[in-house]
């Protein structure tokens, strides 16, 4: 357990920082709220017939809710991971790196803390579910929480991996434009991928978030046909998480 000391310290420190910053906690809900209630409402009322589902047509807002949950987790996880770059520039990481602790435990701490924060932000979103027309049973919530954590874990793992390659905060804009936005739009968060053209279909299969959104949607919206079975989704996300974590840790350790 001694080897995991730094992991625990990073986790505790990041959580303390996160929960102290009320503005950030609630501010980060602004984007999802705008998406659901402005874009979702507006676009929904112009799509005639809504989204096809087993029990008749589904309101667009309801359809996109699990997708927006995926988006929240993606953004929160990557933001949290990218703080490595910030810490490296403004010091705190250096304090950790000269301590008598292994560097892998620092990277692991960063992934776990980011995953915790992202899952928390995701849980906060669940409060909005009734307003989006999603009714959640206790069983669904019991299934949602570990799934949210797993998806958060894979997204943060990717974030840490990217952050170790990033020299300065300036590179973050690039990540936003070239990784996060395409990942979000290709994941099926905003529209069903059933009728997507072949090129988009291929890209969406390469997008780790696709499986996360699919899993979240199949828990919450039982009427919408899901792309893969829940078990397949979970197996793939677990695999992605494991790969991201391993590569992120080894890249980070090699650097320092």
């Amino acid at each position: 357990m001694k080897r995991f000391r730094a992991t625990y310290i990073i986790w505790l420190r990041d959580l303390k920082r996160h929960f102290r910053d009320r503005a950030r906690i609630f501010g980060s809900l602004a984007t999802p709220i705008i998406f659901i209630f402005i874009l979702g409402q507006g676009l929904g009322s112009s799509i005639s017939g809504g989204i096809p589902a087993a029990g008749g047509a589904l309101d667009y807002k309801t359809f996109m809710f699990p997708g927006i949950l995926g988006m929240t987790v993606l953004f929160a996880g990557v933001f949290s991971a990218v703080s490595i770059v910030w810490d490296r520039e403004f010091g705190f990481l250096k304090e950790m790196l000269v301590a008598p602790v292994p560097s892998w435990s620092i990277a692991l701490g960063k992934v776990i803390s980011g995953a915790t924060i992202a899952s928390f932000q995701g849980c906060l979103m669940l409060i909005l579910a009734p307003f989006a027309g999603v009714s959640l049973s206790p069983l669904m919530i019991a299934k949602l929480l570990p799934t949210l954590f797993l998806v958060s874990f894979s997204m943060t793992g990717m974030g840490v991996l990217v952050a170790t390659r990033l020299k300065s905060m300036q590179g973050f804009q690039m990540i936003m434009n070239f990784i996060m936005m395409p990942m979000f739009f290709l994941s099926g968060a905003m529209f069903p991928l059933a009728n997507a053209p072949a090129w988009m279909d291929i890209l969406s299969k390469l997008d780790p978030l696709t499986y996360g959104v699919d899993a979240l949607r199949s828990i919450m919206l039982t009427d919408v046909p899901s792309r893969y079975s829940f078990t397949t989704d979970i197996a793939l996300i677990t695999l992605i998480s494991a790969v991201m974590l391993t590569v992120a840790i080894s890249t980070f350790s090699r650097q320092s």
Binding site: I9, R13, K16, G91, F92, E95, V98, A99, P100, V101
Partner: protein, 362 residues
């Protein structure tokens, strides 16, 4: 107990709580070298630092000071050569070395969203300080740097000087054998700088510790027991400040004349003195024009003779005892100040000032 007994007891407590001291010098460096591609930052450097010594590394930026510290702190692997710290090898016994040292970097490494308490607690956890001792140790180190009253405030509200004091306090939390201070007073105002020095002398006694610091401020280096002057990766001199200054010779005479070249020639011809011509100081504080620089055994007796026999017009004259600036000049043929404020440094100082202005005074 009187105050003296109390501090002796406190020191004994430090010695008992930390890993035992090795036999021999606390730092031993042999032919330490670090290359970056074609550039040799540290070139076959050897020296020893004794226990409870305040040891200074003095030299211009880019001389290899930070590279040497980084190798001693296990942050950078030496290309060749060997260094031990409290008996542990810096290349192969990383964790043991790290546990034996405290480090204050040039740039702050505090988490400014957290309070001073929290920063110290995290540090204590990282360095295996037993939970039962964390509070008492934190109180003790904060008390020394005069920050107990502000311990519950977030670090972002601190001034630059307070942050540096907190970092020094943090470096002491795990009772290290050696405290490394990389440019501890860079970017601080003169008052805060002298306060930092007071702390350094105090903590050496109380924590039974060796202090290894780098600086490019000559006047500050006088605070050290011994100084290694480093230039282009090599140690060019290593001695006490007093002996180093003594080595320069008696006095320094600086002249300004209407024709510097002619004056130098005359000095050579009439007194067999080797004078050097220096460009005007960059800071424009004094009068413009070149200076003629002379090292002589006794300035007070020689100067009247010089003034009598030199035919070129002399504009001004100063005689003074040598400083470490003169030592550096005579050893390397250049002034440390010429190189000390490069662009990066000036920028860092500005950023620090801005940050410290944001905080409240200390």
């Amino acid at each position: 107990m009187n105050a003296l007994d109390k501090s002796a007891a406190a020191t004994a407590q430090v010695i008992a709580a930390r890993p035992p001291a090795s036999v021999g010098p606390v730092i031993e460096v042999e032919n330490l070298t670090r290359r970056f591609k074609d550039f040799t930052a540290v070139d076959e450097v050897s020296f020893k630092v004794g226990r409870k010594e305040i040891f200074g590394f003095l030299g211009p930026n880019g001389a290899g000071k930070t590279t040497t510290i980084s190798m001693l702190c296990t942050l950078l692997k030496p290309t060749s050569g060997r260094a031990t710290l409290n008996g542990f090898d810096v290349a192969s016994q990383q964790d043991a070395v790290r546990q034996s040292i405290g480090i204050v970097f040039q740039d702050p490494t505090l988490d400014d969203q957290l309070t001073a308490w929290e920063n110290l607690q995290f540090h204590a956890m990282l360095y295996n300080v037993p939970a039962s001792e964390r509070l008492s140790r934190a109180t003790r180190v904060l008390d020394m740097v005069g920050l107990v009253d502000r311990a519950g405030d977030r670090v972002e509200t601190y001034s630059g000087g307070m942050k540096r004091r907190l970092e020094i306090a943090r470096g002491l939390m795990h009772y290290p054998h050696v405290l490394f201070l990389d440019e501890p007073t860079l970017g601080l105002d003169p008052q805060t700088r002298s306060a930092i020095w007071e702390h350094v002398h105090e903590l050496r006694a109380e924590y039974d510790i060796t202090v290894f610091l780098t600086t490019h401020y000559m006047d500050e280096a006088e605070n050290c027991d011994r100084i290694a002057i480093i230039d282009s990766g090599k140690i060019v001199a290593l001695d006490t400040p007093g002996s180093l200054k003594h080595g320069v010779g008696g006095d320094i005479i600086t002249l300004r004349s209407a024709d510097a070249g002619a004056t130098v020639a005359e000095l050579k011809e009439k007194f067999n003195l080797d004078a050097a011509i220096q460009p005007a100081p960059a800071d424009t504080s004094g009068p413009a024009g070149e200076r003629i620089y002379l090292e002589v055994p006794s300035g007070r007796t020689l100067l009247p003779q010089i003034l009598k026999s030199i035919t070129t017009e002399i504009l001004s004259v100063t005689v003074r005892e040598p400083t470490l600036d003169d030592v550096f000049l005579s050893l390397t043929g250049k002034q440390i100040r010429d190189e000390s404020v490069d662009k990066m440094d000036a920028m860092k100082t500005r950023v620090r000032r801005r940050r410290s202005q944001k905080g409240m005074g200390h």
